[in-house]
Subunit: 780 residues, 2 copies
Amino acid sequence: MESEASTGVAEAEEHDPESNSLEQPLLKRSPTLSSNPLALVGAKVSHIESLDYEINENDLFKHDWRSRSKVQVLQYVFLKWTLAFLVGLLTGGIASLINLAIENIAGLKLMVVTELVDKGKYLTGFAYFAGVNLVLTAVGAVLCVVFAPTAAGPGIPEIKAYLNGVDTPNMFGASTLIVKIIGSIGAVSAGLDLGKEGPLVHIGTCIASLLGNGGTEEYRIKWKWLRYFNNDRDRRDLITCGSASGVCAAFRAPVGGVLFALEEVATWWRSALLWRTFFSTAVVVVVLRAFMEFCNSGRCGLFGKGGLILFDVSDVTVSYHAMDLLPVVVIGIIGGVLGGLYNYVLHKVLRLYNLINERGRIHKLLLALSVSLFTSVCLYSLPFVASCYPCDPSLPDDTCPTTGRTGNFKQFNCPPGYYNDLASLLHSTSDDAVRNIFSTSTPTEFHPLSLLIFFVLYCVLGLITFGIAVPSGLFLPIILMGSAYGRLLGLAMSHYTNIDQGLYAVLGAASLMAGSMRMTVSLCVIFLELTNNLLLLPITMIVLLISKTVGDIFNPSIYEIILHLKGLPFLEAHAEPWMRNLSVRELAAAKPSVVTLRGVEKVARVVEVLQNTTHNGFPVVDEGVVPPVGLPMGATELHGLVLRSHMIAVLRKKWFLQEKRRTEEWEVREWFTSVDLAERGKKIEQVEVTEEEMEMYVDLHPFTNTTPHTVVESMSVAKAVVLFRQVGLRHLLIVPKYQAAGMSPVTGILTRQDLRAHNILAAFPHLAKSKRREKGKMNQ
Amino acid sequence: MESEASTGVAEAEEHDPESNSLEQPLLKRSPTLSSNPLALVGAKVSHIESLDYEINENDLFKHDWRSRSKVQVLQYVFLKWTLAFLVGLLTGGIASLINLAIENIAGLKLMVVTELVDKGKYLTGFAYFAGVNLVLTAVGAVLCVVFAPTAAGPGIPEIKAYLNGVDTPNMFGASTLIVKIIGSIGAVSAGLDLGKEGPLVHIGTCIASLLGNGGTEEYRIKWKWLRYFNNDRDRRDLITCGSASGVCAAFRAPVGGVLFALEEVATWWRSALLWRTFFSTAVVVVVLRAFMEFCNSGRCGLFGKGGLILFDVSDVTVSYHAMDLLPVVVIGIIGGVLGGLYNYVLHKVLRLYNLINERGRIHKLLLALSVSLFTSVCLYSLPFVASCYPCDPSLPDDTCPTTGRTGNFKQFNCPPGYYNDLASLLHSTSDDAVRNIFSTSTPTEFHPLSLLIFFVLYCVLGLITFGIAVPSGLFLPIILMGSAYGRLLGLAMSHYTNIDQGLYAVLGAASLMAGSMRMTVSLCVIFLELTNNLLLLPITMIVLLISKTVGDIFNPSIYEIILHLKGLPFLEAHAEPWMRNLSVRELAAAKPSVVTLRGVEKVARVVEVLQNTTHNGFPVVDEGVVPPVGLPMGATELHGLVLRSHMIAVLRKKWFLQEKRRTEEWEVREWFTSVDLAERGKKIEQVEVTEEEMEMYVDLHPFTNTTPHTVVESMSVAKAVVLFRQVGLRHLLIVPKYQAAGMSPVTGILTRQDLRAHNILAAFPHLAKSKRREKGKMNQ
């Protein structure tokens, strides 16, 4: 009962550019309770479905469960861990290859440009720089636009939605994976202001999904073992492992990866899963380390040096006193305000970009290329604005100035003995830029004007780059922006504090992350693993707490904003306070009345119901049954819930009965296995039933889940939402609180869409009035 | 409906010392489904109750909820954060004071002993050493035995049970807190093989509970604001903060503390709580740091030097290759085997100790003192067995040998220029012992024989010390044991590997922790924060994963064993596989039939029901009501669930009606506020009702929770368990799947005790047969 899909894609794509409030998603929805199941997946409007995490306890499942041998159980456990291992192995391997490609492509590009600038050929240098960047951007954008629109963006909101129970088509397919890998290499090498971190998370989940399915939709390993994984529960667990592995591969932060998956991405969590996720990330780290060891000897071209810690600042001992708390608090507050502002403006930019992207592929492509050209112009030309500064003579000769690809004191257009601080930041890969701006014990390296230019530039680039049609992550742009203002603040405070300026940059980055993404523990651990400075931990914690608190005053986290914008029906963990004033009976009354089926039903009726509704589950009610001893005849019985996909499977196999009778358990087992029922995605339109068959009967009992979750009609919506989300349901039946002859044992059915605050408010506008007043009222 | 308490304490304390299997708790239980609500809390048999996390949506609550003003909501939010702040502040402060006291008492003791040994007065030294230890142990033991038996042991299993929904009386009271603080100082200073870590967690939760309650049971702040906290939900959250603060204070590991609370202690978790817990631990770290800064200048006696990192091993760079994986795997396997063995033997020892402790206070005391004496003899005399070794001349003069309280190369009974390696480990506080055995770049310091003696000694001490009647933690004994065999292995491997021996000790400690406690992520972070060596992280992860896996083959984690031993009705997160073969109807049939009340009930009937049952919740069913339009008259209606405590409140206030009628909403509000109903712990025996009043009526409608959680009778127990645990219920009503005239709308009720695997197996022995076969079968 996924709600009516009467509104088509055309209507869904219609939108009102004027109404820019945060309340309004990009897709316009009808004001009925159950709105249409469409959402933006990646950059494409798609039909979405709910996932089924509940164990469908029907006769077939029960038999399969009972007959499962010890060997099969061991096979299952072994496979579960093998898949977690493979997810880690492949994610680690692919992440290493991506890094290798980016370092080599971007490195080569920068070396040639540096050489040209060194020779004074400024214009040739620019042409080369902008040209290469345009080509690289075009590679990413064309792939994204033509082959896999779902590969655009970071993918994290869609993963979050998937783990919340929203199935998003083509999100985790092979084409998405390949486009994401190549597109990410192209976009990052092109010097665009975006990171490979978000895409790596998506890559990890794609790998997990493909492994769990045993291949792509077309080419699938029909391996017997894999059939145990043919359910949404196990796929969900594997994808959680994949997302943690992705974060781990991106930041080389195994514990941070697990916590990121736990705090930000996953909806359901068990300690057994914690452990398996941890295993996957451990494998990723081992792979990354092995790869680095292999490359350290120079066998990987320009990729090589560097250990497991990405932005090491462990060489400074952090000594701080009560007085230093003040700048820390200031950084936290600024981070929160800027983060809130960033979320707000990015939201507007994304709405604007959506208008452009909707006009067609060419527009998408042109937008991406314009951004690339603008980026190239800024990155190339701005260092010429900055002055040349003499090198600090106390530095070793070969560190200042440098002319190579990396290095903290780039000579660029300066005379020997001088360096250009802005070139150190702009004429390098983003990883190197972060490393340079985090550099410790170099208090005089960067000058306020350069840092200010850098900050403003990355604010602009960060906002205009994220929405273009290439794989793009949010982490690195935010780190760059935050570190710039952090270091700027450190410079301003240099007389009052004895915290190193490099650490200020780290704190600035952390504060903006918390201000925009609103995570705490996972960010804290990720920063710890990124920078390897444990003594910084207490102040990092304070900064994160303050930034998140301040940011929460203004708007929700950036991922929540994107989720809402895309119209993904994400179910929050807590109920809204006003939901206590509404009962599920009132909620169900606002939608069409429930369609029930009889246990032994005419084929014609089944076909009719499947054709005329879009519901995915139907209560099965038997009438006139013999109740337990002592009660009058003619009772009605709630037998359970039957799924659309199972009924289609029955129609396709034509398991029909001549007479109206209840079948024996062995009869159905001769025709069906639980594997047959696990098949999904078939449509009623693909089923052909003859006139003659229409008059026959079908016994739905063996396929009916006899243990559906139910609530009594007096239940408040607040409690129903918590139940729905905590147990991970797809359908929730409403049973009457009365017992009387002739009453139906089921009075309604609720799905994810019915329980979303946004949809309920559309159907019950009077609740919206009390909403604002009660906002924040003990939302447990 | 907390089950019948017909079996008294006498029967409960009876036990069978022969049946030593892990399946058997210390308290014998009756073989009915709902067994008696008794458990060992601390070292005392107590009556336990379930907690009520569900929001009781009755008329009074709904009115209170609607009328709550914005100011009150702000008050609530402000108070929530203030309390989290205070929990951190006080836990940090008390932890600092405990450390200060221990360092000074134990330090002074050791200094005198060292002096006496230096002068050759070996016997006087021993008399002094053993005497002081006995006195210190006696202080802890007498306090524990006389004033607060609940303060004995670590307290973590009881906290785990509390957060799972089991109320344990006197566990978080003021007397427990005070005894825990003083007792812990005494026991740790006495050199017993136990840690202050577990007790600190308990101290944190006591502080949280007292703050949430606004004081002790006798002296309570009657502050209006605090009334919002007069519910189990908010208390649970606060206690979670307390436990995280405790771990943080113990290991100076803020992130580790949060994760420990998340992975090991807490049952329910929300991201909002994650954030608040993180705030509490941040406050703890700031307090600890401030205190250290204050003490660094020598104002705290013997407490002083040392930074925020407890066992720093960051000075060695970890360089390892594929070959080094072998010893790492070996450590992991040994850790798992030893951990499993440790759990097994400790379980037996605890059963034996229970026999002794039950004989009375004197026996408890004598047991504690004997253990103290044995510990003193071993600690004092064993170093004389070890040989003296010459100091490595490359070491600075003042580090070898040392004669003071601390130091890595103790001279003890050796001539100048020589040191006694076993004395370095045994004649120091446990913290210093860990620091010494973790010491890096000292490959020749410890000798195999000394390490072997140390390992065996701490195996014995660790097993015999834990169960005595003093506050005792498990962490430090396990770290000491594990580090000994780790270092021993490092010594044996020294020719094949280039990992430092200190790091081997760290890995050994981690492996034994994982092998016994079976945690992964939280241990990993705690070890990272303890040792400050990020590069060690990948191998720590591998060790932890292997040890946990190996340990899980043998038995459950030590905390689970203790929980079971104490008979605390802990509800596991996952259902057992055989629970799928049982429906809630069959389960409910194995217990006495449900007692229902009418909406307007005679006082006599209410009194009778309360006196003759021990149930805590009763379904309220109205008969002959007018059903919705179109249905015959005479339906029955499930109005909801009324709590025992609320009915007692009504009886105490004597809110009786002359005639049988339903009251209006305003009537009850004139008599009761939601604060009146929040009161708990009153007994029906304390209520006096006259003969005349017995004939009157009481309207239960306004007190009835109209939104109880329900399941249909065909629901499998497996799904019911998951629902019960995930949503955090106390009562789960069973509704019929039939609709017929004259049928009751509720057919049964399930509580925590009914859903415990152990109890179900006792009532359905045939399921136990299939249990072993199916063990491990997809226990999601």
